[in-house]
Symmetry: C2
Subunit: 287 residues, 2 copies
Amino acid sequence: MRLCSHNTAFCREDFIRFFERKVFRTIEKFQMFSPQSRILVAVSGGKDSMALLHFLRKHDFNVDGYYLHLGLGEHSDRSLKKVERFRDRSGIHVIVEQSSDLLKMDVNEAARRLRRPVCAVCGSLKRYLMNRAAVKYDVLATGHNLDDEAATLFGNLLHWQTGYIRRQSAVLEEKGELVRKVKPLVLMSEYETAHYAFFEGLDSVTAKCPWSKNATSIRYKAVLNDLEFRMPGTKERFLKGFLTERESIFSLSADREPELSPCVSCGYLTSAGTCSVCRMRERLKET
Amino acid sequence: MRLCSHNTAFCREDFIRFFERKVFRTIEKFQMFSPQSRILVAVSGGKDSMALLHFLRKHDFNVDGYYLHLGLGEHSDRSLKKVERFRDRSGIHVIVEQSSDLLKMDVNEAARRLRRPVCAVCGSLKRYLMNRAAVKYDVLATGHNLDDEAATLFGNLLHWQTGYIRRQSAVLEEKGELVRKVKPLVLMSEYETAHYAFFEGLDSVTAKCPWSKNATSIRYKAVLNDLEFRMPGTKERFLKGFLTERESIFSLSADREPELSPCVSCGYLTSAGTCSVCRMRERLKET
């Protein structure tokens, strides 16, 4: 395979070695976790999270998976099947939860009743349930890749979402019961991760979430890929420069961060008195 | 004319009023200059600088023009003709200088002998001569527009050129003999300025500098225009957000700025002992 960003080409074996070495270096560089850490990997059934779970297991990390079934129709069912097959083959323990257990309805229906965008409801739920599931672990790892993170950064810079810019990083430290979060694939492009998953024979869902079609992040990814094509290495330099220099570039004083206290209803840390998910549940009872 | 970024359309008169009011507001917002200030406008013969000079004269500011003939073949000759015609019609005093008076050769030839990119030699010379010419004025105004500045910012963010990011602003304060610099059109898009110049009957050079063809800034402008097309107003929000919030977003401590002292040869402020233009001239004598 050709890798223009590094001006080189690899055979299968060499690429796998190159990819894994780079992930190891990323884990070390950002001090994500140690060989002893208990790691929970959030898996969606897509190539990135499957590749991450596979990589960690392959290298004998102490790892479990977490799959959240969001009830987004056929897409969720198909993803779950891929995850179950992967679990059966690999023997990795994967926790499976249904968001409907909490809301008593699927995400689409909840969003409709709450008159909120599906992605907002889904995001809140995911964060909430993942944080809850990860309480017994040292760290929650997600499969966010270079393309995801560079597009997020680009969008946040374009609109000067300074709160989000301050919080974007390869590692989010723990805060009370909110577990430490890490992104080991943060410097691996979608192209690289897709090749790794393919070369390692991983079977993953290729379809995107049906709600992501018009996401602006897709536009930002396209823009960055266009620049990458003309100036190979641009995406990685852009994100790596930010991740390694962010503390010297930005005014990141901690006093700007909101104070968190336990939700009066469920105990989840929140900046409001009642957390967003409990507020959602209350409102859904009224509808 | 349609103006998607403001979701509106204008007739000729209304657009001119809209444009001029916006420039006035920009001048006030960034406290660029007062009605009494003596202003020197750097003119290239292109629509932006001509529109700026025209606007300032129309509203009775105390303004002169400055044209630097860089000896870039036919392009420079044609630009000079446009500027001279504008001067003769408007009665504005325009200082005309030749860069070859300083280097004893044109910029192309100097760059070839110095084995440096033409744009680097041209940039150094322009800054040097403009600063020298502006000594007798309160402020040097340039025609940089929204597209120029947004593309510059985008490029600097993409490569985390933190020094450049820290220095990019609508106003650069004076420093010793280096005159205060302002960009009154910084929030006017190329599209808006082109329409203003057209509606006001200004005759300007439409050809770009022959050396700008492969400039990466053109690529960045294209990317931003693509986003602007899909999300009208993006460019202005991006740049305005930066210009107004930059001090709270970035660590802009002054102690990072290099100390300046007079060039041992010509007295121009420089961070090295001998300024870049004097070094160029010395090296050219040796070739």
